[in-house]
Amino acid sequence: MPLIQIFLNVLIHSSNYVLIGISIALLYQTTRFLNFSIAAIYTSGSYFVFLFLRIFNFSLFLSIIFSIFFCVLIGFLIELFLFKKIRKKKSSYLISVLTSFGVYIILQNLISLIFGDSTKSIRSGAIKEGINIFGARITPVQIIIIITSIIITIFLLLFLKKTKIGKAMKAVANDAELANISGISSDKVISISFAIGSGLAGLAGILVALDVDMTPTMGMNALMMGVVAMIIGGVNSILGIVCGALLLSLAQNLGVWYFSSQWQDAIAFVVLLIFLIFRPQGFFGKKFGKANI
């Protein structure tokens, strides 16, 4: 068993699951529903880069910056025109979930309408063999992906702990009404979490596309993996999500190794079901305190 290679694979995959997982968790914490539109924003991220890079001929770095900016903008607009209004009506989470699903369908089809369904690439330079580390292979792009994810994760961890906005987010996550009373505008905080979540999702999409190219339908699968990582880890804890992502990608890797590759998806979701049934609060989530009565 090529331990190092499996270790590297786990790192690469989980660094992506972590980003999308945190993105979903941020939104979930503040808005209390699973936002499917993140899947579309994830896809948009890489397609924006493609647009700027290949059509407007910007540099890769500039394209990525612009692209993230546009992802944030989309997320912000969706929040402003749809979810904010739904919240105002005090509608339940189901309405928000289904709305976000509608948004996903619209955006995904818009992308495939504009760019077509075939694979698009934003890699630069020739395809090279990966760097050899004791027989295992990793490409520079993959190293960049891992490092970026680690940096972003640490940054977010600090951001949520130290900054005023981060603390406000935590407060809204705990109790939006209470936060409102204590002078924190929950609308503002939710808008910010939409912006950060969308940016993160866009970035996650871009990083994946740099490694393995992109298709218009890639968002849904990524979203589900992020959700699995989030649930395994526990919604409230970034470290938990990191562990969840690691466990998920490890389970997938070992699943391919011990069973067969066609069961990869099923394995991920079996792990999810086990957690949902036996430990719904995740690794680091606190056990639900007072029963909700």
Partner: protein
């Protein structure tokens, strides 16, 4: 004419599916996106029985319903522990796993190659093969399913379902075993969904796992919601509208290169518009709003 019959048969299949899902989603207030899995399980059980043992149609139908109901209990039981969003995700997981099993147990289910040549139903010596006879059969089944669902929701049993939807804690406090009711309604709903699966399998005479995906589940939910959750007539309206709509769009003459994407986008927009401005659907009674968000 045959084309119209075909569309009506499809509508009939979706009426059965949405009526049965309405029992869970509309009346009990539990959103499940695993309905296509039960639909598929029903189709597969009937098809495998017919192909391997040449067993009679009605027996297959009953077995499919029982098999699907047992699996329904399997997903109903976690619903006691897992709530709300997490339950949606759990049903999603169940759906993916079911698809994976149908797709990968090649020697058993035929895998991605599917099961061709499923025999058409023979009921009391009458072979159902023409479109018209299929349509008659499906109409009869729709009426039976509607009758069953109507009986359920109008009964004291149905009253408890609605109570669970509105406030689980209160329902428990007046001495109703919420868990048992949830499992029961899941079994009924999945059993009824299996009828649609059996009809689909014997009508198309070919099934493969791609007909029973998450997208299919979401389509069925859209029918329930857009038609109107918590109202059986709503499900019928929803099935008619949502099955007819894409068929009619075929005639609108959009440029080919964009038609399919635009159709999908329209469908997405419909979902957004309804959720934003008319969560009750056409004639629903339940808007997915709870007075109490816990429980």
């Amino acid at each position: 004419m045959i084309y119209l019959f075909h569309i009506f048969i499809l509508i009939g299949i979706y009426i059965i599916l949405s009526l049965s899902l309405n029992l869970i989603a509309g009346y009990t207030g539990i959103l499940s996106i695993a309905h296509a899995a039960f639909y598929g399980i029903g189709a597969y059980i009937a098809a495998l029985m017919a192909l391997n043992f040449n067993s009679p149609f009605l027996l297959n139908l009953v077995l499919a319903m029982i098999g699907s109901a047992i699996l329904g209990a399997l997903i109903g039981i976690p619903s006691l522990r897992i709530k709300d969003d997490y339950f949606i995700i759990a049903t999603f997981a169940f759906q993916i796993i079911t698809f994976s099993i149908l797709n990968n147990l090649v020697s058993f289910t035929g895998g991605p190659m599917g099961l061709p040549g499923i025999p058409q139903p023979v009921i009391f010596g009458i072979k159902i093969s023409s479109h018209l006879s299929f349509l008659i059969l499906i109409v009869i089944l729709c009426i039976i399913v509607y009758f069953v669902c109507n009986r359920i929701v109008k009964s004291p049993f149905g009253r408890i379902l609605k109570a669970i939807r509105e406030d689980e804690v209160f329902t428990q406090s007046v001495g109703k075993n919420v868990s048992a009711y949830k499992v029961k309604i899941f079994m009924i709903s999945s059993g009824l969904a299996a009828i649609a699966g059996v009809m689909y399998a014997t009508y198309i005479t070919y099934i493969d796992p791609t007909s029973f995906t998450v997208m299919e589940s979401i389509f069925i939910i859209s029918i329930v919601i857009i038609g109107g959750a918590g109202n059986l007539k709503g499900s019928i309206v929803g099935a008619i509208v949502l099955v007819m709509l894409p068929e009619i769009l075929r005639f609108v003459g959009l440029p080919n290169s964009v038609a399919a994407n635009i159709r999908q986008m329209l469908y997405g927009s419909l979902l957004v518009v309804f959720m934003m401005w008319r969560p009750y659907g056409f004639i629903g009674e339940y808007s997915f709003n709870r007075n109490t968000d816990n429980g």
